[in-house]
Amino acid sequence: MSRDAIFSAFEHAAEQPLESARAWKQAHGTPVVGSFPMHFPGELAHAAGCLPVILQESQEPITVGHGMIYPFYCGYTRSVVDQACKGDYDFLDAIMFGDHCVQVLGAADVVRAKLPNTRVHFYQLISSMSDPWSLGRARETFLLLREGLEEMIGHPIADDAIHASIQLFNQNRALLRRLYDLRRAGTANITAKQMQLAVKSSMVMDKASHNALLQQLLDELESSSDRQQRGVRVYLSGHFCQAPKLGVLDLIEDCGGIVVDDDLYHGTRYISTDVSEQGDPISALAEWYLARNLKVPCPTRVDQNADWENYLLKAMENSNAQGMIVLMAKFCEPHMYYYPEIKEAFERHNMPHLLIETEHELTALEGLRTRIESFLEVVKRQANAQARRVAA
């Protein structure tokens, strides 16, 4: 398959995740397990013979869901509720919900009420990550998840099956990280939209199929070298649950930015950390849960050893980014709590950054264009002035 054909396949799955999962179920008879984003170990559902699908924000306007959830909840939770109310989740065999924030809790309650015939498993992962009991508590939660899935399929899940799934998922993460490496190095011109499609499709597609496509894509990209792009190198930060709208990503690049790295959930956050393929698989998953918060800190977790703003400054340096665009989902409380610290740290280090608050209902992009263009003009002009001062 050509590069374009592979990205089209990614786009088909990423932009129509439920249709894609339904088709997979019909073709293979595989139960489909939906989950909230963030910390659900898809490996367990896969080992249970299911297709794990991370539920995505839909691009459809929110209508009937309005009556079930507050308008000041984030776009992701409102969209999930709306999809549940419209019957979009009826084909799911189970839904696994985690309690990542108050709004997700509210959405989970509505979905459970609207889907009385769907198996809903609610799990509560410890959010305090560096206590002596954190690992044990995380392991207990994952054991309960395993039991919930075993109850659903009617038989135990073998450790070997979990190991095999872990290996498959690790391969997927490693392949996606290679894609990031190519973009960071500038040897492959992968747009922000294409990168999102690659990662988002991984969240909803069968992992083995996704790995095969990724391998083909990497073979092609690694055997050639794209022409080096010029422009303002931009780092994207934020959006822990839903994918940023593709129009916003296109706009950033259309204005002259080149997205070189990110900490988005539909980006490096999802693929940052592998699970150990040795020993007790449930312990390995618990270790993964704690370790990934150190790799890419999450503002919904509390960890004495993780510092998001320092992580971002370091990540900017590693990717040679000139400016950071923060994409904050409107009403995302965890992000709002942390943002002042990030702003202060970036100002202290004289590192340009722009905050963009995103909404489910975001349609008019013209005002946003002015802000993004202005930001890129600021970065470019400041960099040029600095270069002239150094030259003088």
């Binding site: 939209k193 022409r227 080096q228 792009q229 010029r230 008019a364 202005s374 600021v378 040029n384 002035a385």
Partner: protein, 308 residues
């Protein structure tokens, strides 16, 4: 057709409610400025302001060596060789008018901007209202209709307010409802308008807080001509604002200064264009390609979208 040996440069601020044009000679002297009101992002308005400025200067389009556009409709003008955002242009224009400016408040028709400027006169930070029109020229226009007072009379009338009233500063639509309610309670128009202008100041203060208060503060844009808006802003800031003689043209002036850079300091301008050129070339044929139309074979322009 523009000629690189021509003696003038043009800056056009194609705004959401008005269009402004400034013409400079090669020495940087302003030889013309014009403002046209023709409705929302009106191409007619831009044409009228350009024609008027050319007429004032006693020249034709052929005498323009470079034209730079800014404002909401900046990419819609074929005449422009290049465009910059209104943030960059207003800052440039304001610093030209008040060289030691450190903060620029620009309240235009569609949006409000607060721009921090560093010691080199470059933008260091900015904040801009997003979708909400509260605190913009549109906000004032909507409330002028509600109280049935001509826009230009609102400021002087608000300055005679006696009773301290309060209205929402969060939403133009809600504010209009509140204004109607206050009038229905029998409150005087003067006092209601005082509250309207205080709300604008309060809203702008929120934007200033995002970039940090610093002085001297320059105010540009049409609302800078409104005495009550300036008065209330000075009250909430606790400092005097510097208002250039013709605050509405600051953006167009900034655009004209960038055009002037291109013919007087081509090295610097070329440096920036090289970045744009490489980037645009690398994108040709991709979804992010911004190429607009093919060029005639005999045309070899130096700037802007015509690169393709």
């Amino acid at each position: 057709m523009k000629s690189s040996t021509a003696q003038y440069v043009m800056g056009i601020d194609f705004g959401s409610t008005t269009s402004k044009t400034v013409i400079l000679d090669r020495a940087g002297n302003m030889v013309a400025s014009a403002i046209a009101h023709k409705g929302s992002v009106s191409n007619d308005g831009a044409m009228v302001s350009m024609a008027e400025a050319l007429q004032q200067a006693g020249i034709t389009e052929a005498d323009i060596a470079r034209a730079v556009s800014t404002g909401y409709g900046r990419r819609m003008l074929d005449i422009a060789d290049k465009s910059y955002t209104e943030i960059t242009c207003h800052a440039r224009g304001a610093v030209h008018l008040v060289p030691d400016a450190r903060l620029v408040i620009d309240i235009g028709g569609q949006d409000s901007k607060v721009i921090a400027v560093d010691a080199n006169g470059l933008v260091s930070q900015f904040a801009m209202n997003d979708r909400c029109a509260a605190g913009t020229g549109k906000f004032l226009e909507a409330l002028a209709r509600a109280v049935q007072v001509p826009l230009e009379e609102m400021g002087p009338m608000a300055m005679t307010a006696v009773e301290h009233l309060s209205i929402s500063n969060m939403c133009a639509t809600f504010a209009e409802t509140e204004v109607v309610a206050l009038l229905a309670e029998g409150k005087r128009k003067h006092d209601v308008l005082g509250a309207v202008h205080a709300a604008i100041a309060s809203r702008t203060l929120g934007l200033i807080a995002r970039v940090g208060k610093r002085e001297p503060v320059v105010m540009t844009g049409g609302v800078a001509k409104n005495v009550a808006a300036v008065h209330h802003l000075e009250q909430v800031l606790g400092m005097k604002l510097r208002i250039p003689p013709d605050p509405q043209i600051a953006g167009a002036l900034g655009a004209a200064l960038f055009a002037l850079d291109e013919i007087t300091s081509p090295d610097h301008a070329d440096e920036e264009d090289r970045v744009d050129t490489e980037m645009a070339a690398a994108r040709c044929g991709t979804p992010t390609c911004t190429a607009k139309k093919p060029l005639p074979a005999n045309v070899h322009p130096l700037h802007g979208p015509a690169l393709h």
